[in-house]
Symmetry: D4
């Protein structure tokens, strides 16, 4: 049986690539999905496709909704949602995805440094595993599929 | 008909009191609920009730889960979830609540300064109203009930 | 047992009042709810409460979303959704409400003249009763409660 | 991953063909579905298959229900429902489909001229994108799949 | 806590009255609901309220749908659905109600003579109790509430 | 897209074969499923597999539950449930399946002679098509797939 | 707001009374519900109400199903399910209730001695709090309601 | 059509292998899934992958949650959940799985000796078949697929 995994959160480090490489190295039967991780493309998609907005709020609004089409589908079809929080930025969309996934009964794995433990306690409380490295995420996938 | 409203997010300003006062001043048929807003009590409830933990992670974990009992019930029974984001702190639990409420089909109202617009675009995209002041939240409740 | 009834659709005739009068005349245990039926208030609520928009699209967008807070709650809590279509206007929101109510498994009663039969065939196909007068709606409520 | 898209609404213009061509030109992994778009076949299917009705209402009723078998399946299995409104006709079935899809949590894209903005504000408020051309719909599919 | 009980099925014997009397004699906190049990009123409601049909099929169709408004509400709000099958008539509507209630996860109690055991085996297999007398139904309610 | 169709009801005539032949003759993309239609095997499966019961009620009970494993799966995975009622026997299981399918939101097609119209009015009221011949069922499948 | 709490599990100690007393002493707005805790009545209800069975399996089967009517209702209406495991007996019904409640998204509190930690790890993993004394359960209710 | 079957419970006997062999011998279209049945691996997965815990409770907690990722997925995708109880150990996780599966509407088959009948009466009451040997489970799969 195949696991479908959605990788939500931080887009400024290579954690997705590391999970991808680990999954491939072990030959795991895992399908990985991500949001649009090109920051500029993600911010500008509304204006580019549907026409420019004069106000920042509506530019963001249109973009966020178009991005939601992909995100919702991938979360809805996932078995596991991995949510990564980095040191920088607010990353409220990652926490939003985690809450959304939790309400749908998805298995959640969080991925963050120990320094964020206190700030993320509510999100971690809804997770089935709290990882600090992409390798740990891969190990959990490997264990869940092949033990 | 009565509206049940859950007030999620920031605990270091008086926005809940302002909404409460506005609701009372207008005599709105609204039931307001909040999480435990006493920061220390919220952080320590696990250790206090169930026994002290030696590791910070598990102290937080136990506390967050106990707090989830109240939060889940109030969100599940709400018609509207108001989510407040302030300038300080990560407030990932507020974004988590918003995602959770969105997946349950609750009506979401966000409340934050314009400065946070870009960082909150995904949360705002799931909201039915984006407010900047508690008075606007009260106006929406008033309009929805009494117009 | 009480029936909760949501009255969706046309706002330019007195069909809601007639149902209200019929329900009162017969002393039926029925709770009637409606959207905001003041056309101007409904159109302007976004601008008035949250600030004016320069573009018509966003003005409408903000207003429609605020109105959705009330509509969603009332439909979600209704046993019956009565959807009225008049001769004039597109009334796509009424058909939207009907589809929304159908997917939630609500009992739908449509109310329209015979002249609209062909154009409304898909909506009528999802209804448990197709009425031509408010009195017929009242008769169905009376029959369902008191026979 | 493949996107399943249901194309609801107007049957008197070539918007479906344009989306089909755009999807093929870009080689998108998209499965497009439509209702029966042959107007006469759609109107007459009840009488033809199950026997003629003497009254127009019941002829329409039987046809609309048979058509619902296909429509319901396609909407239920879709990731995205595109709803097209043209200048002519009431198109209440399109708005009904939009409401139905909204209650099921489907991603909705509307497609209509700016002139219809005010009349469609409630439907647009439930959409994740409001397009004016079939090309924009194709762009959104392309962006969601391939960015 | 109160039990809401819907009494589906046979309308030509006094089993509903016996359950009602038993519930009152024991002072049980039970709310009993029934479909329209006046056979003629039930058959004619469509024609009477919405206008006469020339074809028997459509007369029945309109009546059955109006009756469904009440039946659906009562089943949806019930904790327990009691389904009574007598010796005579097809009573397919009772079996339909049982299947409908089963899919909604309601507790089902069947009530029928031993002679019908084989014919009702699929319905009984979905029931939590199979009774032969109204007194047994009352005993189960009494036990569930007061033991 | 493929339609999955569950054929519930009468097991003493060749209506299933006729639908099967029609589907094959037209090359329809339809997957047909049925309950165990060998009457004796269906009645005896509990005793045969799990051991003989001394009481008829429990023999029937065990058999009906084992049969439910297959029936539930097929109904749950179906797009369409065709329910056939013949002249003979009570066929309460067919009506039960119809109610069960209705509550799950499946598209229901009934198949019966005109003589049964009045007795089946509640079941027909939940159907999207009421057929008198297997050929009509095939026509509806053909129309829904290929028009 | 009131909390509804279902107390599942062990019937041979006074933990329910202690929670009841604690709730009363603190004047908490809590509604407590339990299964039938009279062991003999619970075991014999099937035979007593519906007639004696000659085989132990069916006697148990009938009793367990009648008891399920009450249990299902109370769990379905609860905000919190407290599941108590004692030293003796298998108590598989308590673990079954916990799994049932978990799938419904109820908040679960387990109550057991430390000695059972390893054997109950899967149940505890689904709980929001793991208590060792009834007083701790009361404290959690008090905290959730009144902090 | 293929049946997906999850095999929950006892890990110290060869019942899973016997079902596997029976399924292969008969060439059944059945997909069998199990939890991690290596006791040590299952107990230690949390410590091994995410780091050692000093307290037994948290070691168990982390392991149980990681194991839940696999268990939840397999139960959610199963048509049938077979739950095996042996003579030894508490096996509360098996009963928890049964309750969880019951609330999701899965078909449950229990597998245990007659000696456990009384202790398992609530679990058996939620099952569609109660087996004493793996061969009986295979027979039911064979019957459900091929009769």
């Amino acid at each position: 049986m195949k696991f479908k995994v959605y990788l939500s959160g931080e887009i400024h480090s290579d954690w997705r690539e590391k999970i991808q490489q680990g999954v491939e190295a072990k030959g795991l039967n895992v399908e990985l999905h991500s949001p649009v991780t090109n920051h500029e493309a993600s911010d500008d998609c509304g204006d580019k496709i549907l026409g420019a907005e004069s106000e920042a709020f509506w530019k963001d609004h249109k973009a966020a909704k178009i991005n939601a089409i992909r995100i919702r589908k991938y979360i809805a079809e996932s078995d596991i949602v991995v949510v990564r929080f980095g040191e920088k930025y607010k990353q409220w969309n990652a926490a939003f995805d985690a809450g959304y996934a939790a309400a749908l009964g998805k298995s959640i794995i969080t991925l963050h440094d120990e320094a964020l433990t206190h700030a993320l306690k509510e999100v971690d409380a809804a997770a089935l595993a709290v990882c600090q490295t992409p390798e740990q995420v891969v190990e959990i996938l490997n264990y869940s599929l092949n033990q």
